[in-house]
Amino acid sequence: MKKTAALAIVFAALFFLQARAQDENASTVLTVWNMPSAADKNQLDVWGSETETFEKMFPGVKIKGISREYKPQEFVSVMASGKGPDVAHIPITAIPSMAKYGFLARLNSFTDGWDQKDYMPAIMWDSVKIDNDVYGIPYDSYFTTLFYRKDIFDKCGISGPPKTWQDIITISREISAKMPDTWGIALPPDMFYFIDFIWQAGGDVYSQGKLNLNSPAVITALKFWSDLKFRYKAMPPQDILYESDIEQLFSAGKIAMMPGVAKQLPVMARRYGLDISNVVIVPLPAGDGGAQAWHAGGEAFVINDAISPEKKKLAFEYIKFRLSPLTQLSRFMMMKQLGMIIFPGDFSCATNLINRPEFANVKGLLSYAHAEPTYYKWPMIREDFNRYVLEKVFTDSDVDYRQVLYDFMERIKKEYNE
């Protein structure tokens, strides 16, 4: 009896393995980490429809979609185990370090002869290139912008958004005077947003292969952030407000302005009940010298370096399909049909839909866009800057900016040989 049961289990296991092997042989399975989550039902429908079309175009290929937000630990672990996805969507800022550790395939041979390549902004290509080697295909693009609450502006009789740093101060004063419980703006201690102010002050963080974080522009930007909080009381009195706190306060109407990227808005609507119709997106104000600047970011498709050359080719076909003008147009149509809000961030940065009214807010933003350094140590330096400079500036009103920056540069020199 026992022997019969054991034999039955062995046969069942063999049958299962055989069936699986046959199934895998019948079609090539392409694992992609870009499927929207089940919470975004409409987005999932759009993705499903595109996948179906691709599978019809390539009958031997099956797409296995996995819904994953990019998390470094998860991505590193799965790639290091050799079981990583064939294609993934990751932020362009993560590309330098992931490429350095050998996870990402070099894509020059694919992109060199690709006709869509030239339709993508050069700044986006710069973000995925390391020493002229391409490690990612830019997908969407976003720009840091300023969100403002139209309802608060209307209540306070403010006619338009701030155009300069000085306007931020003036508008914040007006708001605080008319609505005592409401503040003008909130800024998180995050280099992601602070870097825009450095550029607006006429500086840069990385030039000619060197970090440049104690320049006068950095000091000017630091002083402006500190003054907004401690001198002009334009920001809420809390020591530190992280991004999620600011999103919550903005959604609750306690803050009139915040920096952000358009993609954040639907998330804020879902999480904190933000009424998107009350929000206006405008370019970030110019610095005291009149310099307009914000940064362009986005996500890029990457291909796993560990897969076979044939699979890499197929993976590139998939990326090409997703970025083709036809797919982008059908996506736009379907989103309209489903009554979804159109965000430029849902489309390729090479989209030919830029003249549509839905894209009006981002049209022209590229002219003043900057990219973060494609230096593999940048994410670490950015994290340290948040911790040891920005958090210090927000928690200490008497801070000596020069000393803080000097100490930081010393620390960086010691730790990263910079």
Binding site: K100, G102, F103, Q238, D239, D245, L249, P379, T395
Partner: protein, 428 residues
């Protein structure tokens, strides 16, 4: 009053003396029936043939003297000494009383009571031909145990020990890319020794553990004592305190992050009720001097439940007669805690302290979610530092070195704890 009886119970007591004392005790403790051992006597029916209480009561009534008075130490000899029990000096008072009343019930020692004596059967004869069977049976039994333990053992080795060995090997390597690790000997460990950030993280972990030891050891102890002594609702209280332990760390940390929020958190809002006209805005998670305390509070809130359970188990192991004797001697609650509970609970308290130290050193989710090491690095602990080194700074070899270093630290603490408890056992 009640301790007089123990003064009078000597090695030799007559039945009359006992019954007199018992009745007197029952009269004097009518209302304190819950904890006194003497009450157990009520349940024991007296064997008619052995002690005739009615007759003795008659005798006492005649003499118009209460049993207790007539049995004062000076006139014990005057009482009828027919049933005299010899009690060894080594017995405690309670044991003496028990023996006395068993004797009263059965009229003999317990071992001599016929219905309680088990009939002994002769052992079966060992036959030579059965030895083989026995050997096979023993071997089968051994194999069964091995077979049963094997699946769990394989999983344990695969998921617990293999990563540990792998971490050890990675700790001696430096990764240029994921596929090109280079052996660097002790270089990672030497770098750790001169890494100021690592020692800052160690200091923060140490401070966190110290707060956890102070609050996380004594608070559950007092709560456990309260629950132990509570007459009503102790089960409900145990459940209520244990629920936070069952809450997953991530939602708990998010919840507390909202509660701690400087601008609109419920804690500051509640505090503002006590300061009319002034909005309290304490930066629980944004003030570098407060942040570790705030994290420790969350950790203690979450771990108080299991510590209470451990203490409760310890309290239940303390012999009841110690409390009874103390109560009869009129000991106060503080005296009971000082002289009975704390000395008896020392091993349990030590166990809780060391578990709290180890847990406190390992804290990750609370810090990662609530502060991510901020503000200004003041809540960076070893676990978050290790994580960042591995996945943000991508220095996996160095992070493994930190992990190994950390492992040795925890093993040292554990060995210290084991040595301490062994030394205590040896001293006993």
């Amino acid at each position: 009053m009640s301790d007089d009886i123990f003064g009078k119970v000597g090695n030799e007591l007559s039945e009359n003396a006992i019954s007199g004392m018992v009745e007197e005790e029952l009269r004097s403790h009518k209302k304190e029936d819950a904890s006194l051992p003497i009450i157990k006597l009520k349940l024991a029916p007296t064997a008619e043939s052995v002690v005739d209480i009615a007759k003795r009561r008659e005798k006492r009534e005649k003499s118009q003297v209460s049993g207790f008075q007539s049995l004062s130490s000076s006139n014990l000899a005057k009482v009828n000494l027919v049933n005299v029990i010899k009690l060894p000096d080594t017995l405690s008072q309670t044991q003496k009383l028990k023996k006395v009343f068993r004797y009263r019930r059965y009229g003999m020692q317990m071992r001599d009571v016929p219905q309680l004596r088990r009939e002994s059967k002769p052992l079966p004869e060992r036959r030579k031909q059965d030895f083989g069977k026995l050997r096979r049976y023993r071997a089968q039994k051994k194999r069964l145990g091995l077979g049963l333990i094997m699946p769990a053992m394989i999983i344990f080795l695969l998921f617990s020990w293999m990563p540990i060995f792998k971490t050890f090997s990675i700790a001696f390597q430096k990764f240029q890319t994921i596929n090109s690790a280079e052996y660097v000997g002790l270089s990672n460990f030497l770098n750790i020794l001169s890494d100021a950030k690592f020692w800052d993280a160690c200091l923060h972990s140490g401070i966190l553990s110290a707060i956890v030891i102070v609050l996380g050891t004594w608070l559950p102890l007092f709560l456990a004592l309260y629950i132990y002594e509570a007459r009503h609702g102790s089960s409900l209280m145990k459940v209520l305190y244990f629920i936070p332990f069952l809450t997953p760390a991530v939602p708990a940390a998010i919840l507390w992050k909202w509660m701690y929020n400087q601008g609109f958190g419920v804690i500051n809002s509640l505090l503002s009720l006590f300061t009319p006209g002034h909005q309290v805005a304490i930066g629980w998670l944004t003030n570098p001097h407060l942040v570790l305390l705030s994290i420790a509070i969350v950790f203690i809130w979450k771990n108080t439940g299991w510590a209470i359970l451990i203490y409760m188990a310890g309290l239940q192991n303390i012999p009841k007669n110690l409390f009874e004797d103390a109560a009869l001697n009129g000991a106060s609650v503080a005296s009971k805690i000082k002289n009975i509970i704390l000395p008896s609970l020392v091993p349990v308290i030590m166990a809780v302290v060391f578990i709290q130290i180890i847990n406190g050193m390992q804290v990750f989710s609370e810090v990662y979610i609530m502060t991510n090491g901020g503000p200004v690095g003041s809540s960076e602990v070893i676990a978050t530092y290790m994580y960042k080194k591995a996945f943000l700074y991508m220095d996996i070899g160095y992070a493994s070195g930190v992990a190994v270093f950390f492992l040795f630290l925890l093993v040292t603490i554990t060995l210290f704890r084991m040595n301490l408890s062994n030394a205590r056992k040896a001293a006993k």
